[in-house]
């Protein structure tokens, strides 16, 4: 008897590159790096985040929006015009690609917030809070419209397909950035749709994730108390909003915010000296509902750097490397060597201990 059994054995794939001196890296580099991890995904999601790509509009918020039909685009633009000054709007450049047969309408807007926007009368909130409010409102209330990128001088490009195909579809060879992250998706519990591809983004924060967040329900309800609404049907969405809450709103030091997400075990807290023990106990008590449970390796992009972090028992792979001013993070060492054959240093980050790489201060 002959039989043939084929199973996709897989996990998501991550790649990230940063040049700390803001030297620009072409999109082809990150595409090549993530393409090596082709078999970690299954074609149901690929995406990229790029920082430093809109220098001509660096003080504008760049909204990348997907529309399922023209009607919701009109509805979105109506809302946008009331609240924002739109200085440039255009279709996101794409090419016809055989491996990306269908896609939503993809549009980008470079905007500033109107100082006399109508909601100020009822609710006096700052600019960044208003952006968050806009993203939540659109994703929840404008049926078929999803804002998938909302930061300054950065952008997310994502969709259903393998990342190397999605990258070509978005013509990423035409972009140069000093920070890139990339994701190859193998959806497990949630649908493979355009909005569910990684990165997930809010303001400057972008997340690519390999793993499962089994605390999603708790995290989602916790975020709702702070008016973050999860509407993208994928667990990773909570991480983007948690980072905005902990780092921007609550202004926690980064190391502590990351410890809130990848919480120390009580048995290890018990071994700390008094000062540390008090602090980590407080973090677990106050941010218990922000802790991420389940296996994860995550790359976090933001305007000033790149962070990689694992769950506290390292249930997903993460490798880091450095060559001069360029740092690499990936799910597999070969993915790094594909674009940097001879790094000066290559290492495996420990469970729950973040790799934090910051850009040098910008010289004006």
């Amino acid at each position: 008897m002959s039989w043939r059994y084929e199973k996709d054995i897989s996990g998501c794939g991550l790649a990230g590159i940063i040049n700390t001196r803001r030297e620009l890296i072409n999109g082809k580099v990150i595409m090549k790096s993530i393409a090596l991890q082709h078999d970690r995904g299954n074609g149901l999601g690929g995406g990229f985040a790029a920082y430093g790509i809109y220098p001509d509009y660096k003080d504008h918020y760049a909204f990348h929006v997907m529309f399922e039909h023209e009607k919701c685009r009109h509805e979105f633009e109506h809302y946008l015009k009331i609240n924002y000054q739109i200085d440039r709007e255009e279709l996101i450049p794409t090419r016809t690609h055989p491996k990306v047969p269908t896609h939503p309408i993809l549009w980008r807007y470079f905007v500033t917030i109107k100082p006399d926007r109508p909601d100020l009368k009822e609710d006096e909130i700052g600019d960044q809070d208003f952006i968050v409010k806009t993203v939540m409102h659109v994703n929840l209330n404008i049926d078929g419209a999803y804002v998938f990128s909302s930061g300054k001088n950065m952008g997310v490009f994502k969709g259903v397909g393998y990342p190397e195909d999605i990258g070509e579809f978005f013509c990423l060879e035409n972009y140069d950035a000093y920070i890139w992250t990339a994701h190859n998706r193998f959806p497990t519990n949630t649908p493979g749709w355009w909005g569910g591809a990684h990165p997930f983004a809010l303001l400057e924060w972008t997340i690519v994730h390999n793993g499962e967040i089994s605390s999603y329900g708790i995290n989602k309800r916790y975020l709702e108390m702070f008016h973050y609404t999860c509407s993208l049907m994928t667990d990773t969405e909570v991480v983007a909003y948690l980072l905005d809450l902990l780092l921007r709103k609550h202004n926690l030091p980064r190391e502590l915010a990351l410890k809130a997400l990848s919480a120390s075990f009580w048995k290890d807290i018990d071994k700390m000296d008094k000062r540390e023990r008090t602090m980590f106990t407080a973090i677990r008590q106050v941010y218990g509902s922000a802790a991420l449970n389940g296996p994860f390796a995550i790359l976090i992009g933001h305007n000033n750097g790149l962070i990689g972090i694992n769950d506290r028992i390292k249930l997903r792979p993460l490798v880091a490397a450095r060559k001069q001013d360029t740092y690499y993070l990936a799910s597999e060492e070969s993915s790094i060597r594909e674009v940097c054959p001879e790094p000066e240093r290559i290492w495996h980050p420990k469970a729950g201990e973040p790799v934090i790489i910051d850009l040098e201060k910008e010289v004006k």
Binding site: Q37, I313, K314, E332, S334, E338, H348
Partner: protein, 258 residues
């Protein structure tokens, strides 16, 4: 995707694997094996998965330049693989016989369910190394790592021999947390170190001194290891070692009994 370029010089079959997809590569190896090839030299490997998987034959030898992808030598039954650089996760997964020699570091989950053969790593190893290794009568798998190891070393180990030489490149722990958690068979030999702490051990294991039988095992295996890596055997062997063994072979035997 370029096809793999296969060249035969003398007995050695050289394959240039640059940019070659893993299926193509492994197909080339199997085709050459069927035609009687025994010696392989794989050049420009980077990330190709499943190399050597399920291959049979003690006289087969594969030398790899570059970093091979995950699940190197899974289900392998006899061949020898030599990797001249680092390697990734899942090496020797359910391996039955043969030998894998890694000259650099290796990743997580090495020797998962391994049931025979040897895995020698010169450098550091990652998390969950030797997870659920097993043994039956004379079939005893062996993993030796020269550097440090991550958490969960020997997790759920049911048999086999794991040796950690613990050579540090920097100020770090020689061995991670949850050492030997769930272990119920086999033995782990560790270089003696203050890093082996009672509160970082699995509750199923205890640290013990070596007896004569242990020393004989170490003599033999470390001689072979040092030969493979051209290391000074006497220097390696004269270090103090301790062993980690399960205190019960059925730690969860009563879990559901009452």
């Amino acid at each position: 995707m370029p096809a793999s370029k296969t060249k035969k010089t003398g007995k050695t079959i050289t394959i240039d694997a640059k940019g070659v997809y893993y299926r193509e590569l492994n197909h080339s190896i199997r085709t050459a094996l069927k035609a009687g090839g025994k010696e392989f030299h794989l050049k420009n490997i980077n990330g190709q998965r499943y190399i050597g998987d399920g291959l049979v034959g003690r006289d087969v030898r594969i030398t790899i330049d570059g970093v091979p992808g995950n699940d190197l030598g899974a289900f392998m039954d006899g061949p020898t693989i030599v990797v001249n650089s680092n390697a990734q996760d899942g090496i020797s997964n359910t391996m039955n016989d043969g030998k894998i020699i890694i000259h650099g570091d290796a990743g997580d989950v090495l020797g998962y369910g391994m049931r025979g053969g040897k895995l020698f790593v010169r450098g550091d190893v990652g998390y969950r190394v030797g997870i659920h290794m097993k043994e039956f009568k004379a079939k005893i798998p062996v993993i030796i790592a020269g550097g440090v190891a991550g958490d969960f070393l020997g997790e759920y180990m049911a048999g086999g021999i794991l040796i950690l030489l613990g050579e540090k490149k920097k100020n770090e722990m020689m061995v991670g947390d949850y050492l030997g958690t769930g272990m119920h068979g086999g033995v782990i030999y560790l270089k003696y170190s203050d890093d082996i702490k009672e509160d970082r051990l699995g509750k199923e294991v205890a640290v013990m001194e070596l007896d004569d039988a242990d020393n004989k095992v170490l003599d033999k295996l470390l001689k072979e290891y040092c030969q493979d890596f051209r290391m000074d055997y006497d220097k390696t062997r004269q270090q103090r070692f301790v062993k980690l063994k399960p205190v019960s072979h059925r730690p969860y035997g009563k879990l559901y009994a009452y």
